[in-house]
Amino acid sequence: MSDISIEEQTAMRDSFARLLAERGDETAVRQAMVTPLGYDPQLWQDMAEMGLLGLIIDPEFGGIGGDAVLLETLMEVAGAHLLCSPFISTSVIAARVIAACSDEEQKAEMLTAIGDGREIIAIAATGEQGAWTPGGISVTATSDENGCKLDGVSSFVMHAEGASRVLVFANNNGVTGAYILDPAASGIAIEKLKTNDPTLRLSKITFSNASAEHLPGVDETAIGTAMDLARVALAGEHAGGVKRIFDITVEYLRTRHQFGRQIGSYQSLKHIAADMLIEVETAASAAAAAAQAIAADTEDAQTLINLAAFACADAYRDVTAQAIQLHGGIAYTWEHPAHLYWRRARTGLWLFGSSDYHREQYLTQLEAA
């Protein structure tokens, strides 16, 4: 559990929300999403100044030392605003992986740089199957006296654009580990992938005898923990996003008139809205419960992580799909925000494992209970 007071946490949440309202509104998102980088470097710097980039980094390395609960809360804010940023890559996955590194010097240098906003770290975590499981890794590491070399392909690499380093999960003689290298290094070929969600930046990286630095002490468990934290961050983002698009939709139901009545007075639309509310609240409960379980390290943490992963993603998918339907024609236009949430939701269905995968894992956990 974090020792940051509730008041401080609330204050952080509020100032993050203010920041995004000012500098990360829909217009800003639309501007950022069409840049090659895919995010607003100035906003990234603002987040650094608020300490957000070191949110889960230990105070020893200049971070805030927040726990999963605080992370989830702030991700709800990010999700509500469709924040485009390498936050999950850099400040969640990389920060958590590096925190497990046993080379204290390496760790201190990199964590401090992450918190300062000096590092953007791309995450090469899975092969072309997009499985985000240890079995899905298809990069091989070999090491000799001259250091480590990477070979193979990693796809669905998040935020290679603008990244100062790439964090790669690779197998070295059957042992999964973490490696880090410069994206401009020789032996690394980055191919940008066109995505359906314009706020998402993905690449495919081919490694051919590329020199990389090994992060000692980072084993499969540490990587799994980092990815699970990322799943909860994503669940929080979903919970925040689904709430916002729902609020936008209910507001539309209140203000749009057809046949001389608010369309929200039509029972079929009211009933759809009621069903949507269950999904919205469920996403919030699931994401929060998973975060609390991680923070308190309870026995059912893994169960709740898997539950949140599919429940939040599915809720986001279903609610955004209905949001477009309830808006009617206006949401069929690119200019309306509904499809941005809808695309983000559809992204969330696959990142870090599909809903079917997480449902299967959830059941496996329950069998063992």
Partner: protein
């Protein structure tokens, strides 16, 4: 009677209750200390007089003026000792209604009996007034007599539980037919044990008969047994329903709490029938279990919100969510059982349970405000969307179409 103080410490309170219990209740024999067999009426009288049965009520009316946290302390101790008659300020709906809304005279006349064994039942719904309770057509006509006279009641009520056991029915009846529907209803504490009250069990599709139809033919109720104002019954009902929802809600959050750690029944069922390896079923089982789990998480959050703010809009979602859960679980159970779903009875207990649950799920999705009514409530009260157009709201009830 003992201390009333709100400032009493929790420790002192617990000690006081335990001392009283030790003196009055034989936990081993589960009866009043000093006798061999529980005489429930006598025991209830004793408990009611102690103030522990309705601890949040006023000391003028069998209570102690405790707050709800203190009441919970008392309840937990009584529960641990399996003491009957506890928490009647939460669960005895008839008594609560009389206490909250009855006249001084009515309380004096009925309250103690209602706390010491005079069970009450609900006489709200009618064949033509299901979702639309304000559409009741049971008529109550005044006739002169001593003590304010009495009302002669004729009509039909349905979906009443405990009707056979009940001394009183909380009756909604129409006392004025010439005003709009909500304005002509009165709320009576109606004596059940009289001629003119015929109780017929309803055969349900589950095979149970927990509910009854009540045929009332020129039965009598004293005018002084009206709760609230004459023709002010709708308001009384709203308060009574609010209590009912609160109790059901509390029950729901409490029941939810228990189910967490065990292996879910659907998983056990699949294991028993060798279907836990079927990947198609695994997805369906996981989703069905997840819905219940997620609802439990919502209810847990609701409880936290209630503790923090005194209320939670999440509470209203639970009943609707439960329909999806119950119908869904029964459906998946059927798929696990496969062709064995066709079977029933003691020889096929898993099939019998599944078939029972499939039917029983309608109890939640229809009873106590159908899913459709719940969605109205959620969209109107929580989301603030416009109310359904009510064509009969302002017309004299006589002219309202019914059927």
């Amino acid at each position: 009677m003992a201390t009333r103080s709100m400032e009493m410490s929790d420790q002192d309170l617990a000690a006081e209750v335990k001392t009283w219990l030790a003196a009055n209740w034989d936990s081993e024999k589960r009866c009043e200390r000093g006798v061999d067999r529980l005489n429930i009426k006598s025991w209830l009288g004793k408990l009611v007089d102690s103030g522990y049965s309705v601890p949040t009520w006023s000391p003028d009316w069998f209570g102690r003026g405790f707050n709800s946290k203190q009441a919970r302390i008392i309840d937990n101790i009584l529960k641990a000792h399996q003491v009957p008659g506890r928490s009647q300020d939460r669960y005895n709906l008839g008594a609560v209604t009389v206490y909250r809304m009855g006249s001084y005279a009515l309380k004096t006349e009925l309250l103690r009996d209602m706390l010491t064994g005079d069970v009450s039942c609900l006489l709200y719904s009618e064949p033509n007034a299901g979702s639309d309770l304000a559409g009741v057509r049971t008529k109550a006509e005044w006739v002169a007599g001593p003590d304010g006279g009495e009302y002669v009641v004729t009509g039909q009520k349905v979906w009443t539980t405990n009707a056979k056991e009940a001394a009183y029915g909380m009756l909604l009846a129409r006392t004025d037919w010439d005003v709009p529907k909500h304005g002509g209803i009165s709320f009576f504490i109606f004596p059940m044990k009289q001629d003119g009250v015929e109780i017929r069990p309803i055969n349900q599709i589950t095979g149970e008969s927990e509910f009854n139809e009540i045929f009332i033919t020129e039965a009598r109720v004293p005018a002084r047994y009206i709760v609230g104002e004459l023709n002010g019954g709708w308001k009384v009902l709203q308060t009574a329903l609010a209590y009912e929802r609160l109790i059901m809600g509390e029950g729901a959050t409490e029941r939810q709490g228990k189910e967490k750690s065990a292996v879910p029944p659907l998983v056990e069922l699949a294991k028993r029938h060798g279907k836990l390896d079927d990947p198609v079923l695994r997805q369906k089982i996981a989703q069905a279990v997840a819905y219940r789990h997620l609802n439990a998480l919502n209810m847990k959050r609701a409880k936290q919100e209630i503790l923090a703010n005194g209320s939670s809009s999440l509470m209203s979602l639970g009943k609707l969510a439960m329909s999806r859960i119950q119908h869904g679980e029964a459906k998946v159970a059927g798929e696990i059982l496969g062709a064995n779903s066709l079977l029933d009875g003691d020889d096929f207990p898993d099939s019998a349970d599944m078939n029972f649950d499939s039917a029983k799920a309608y109890m939640n999705s229809i009873g106590g405000g159908s899913d459709q009514i719940q969605r109205n409530i959620i969209s109107e009260r929580i989301l603030g969307l416009p109310r359904e157009i009510e064509v009969d709201r302002n017309m004299p009830f006589r002219d309202v179409k019914s059927g």
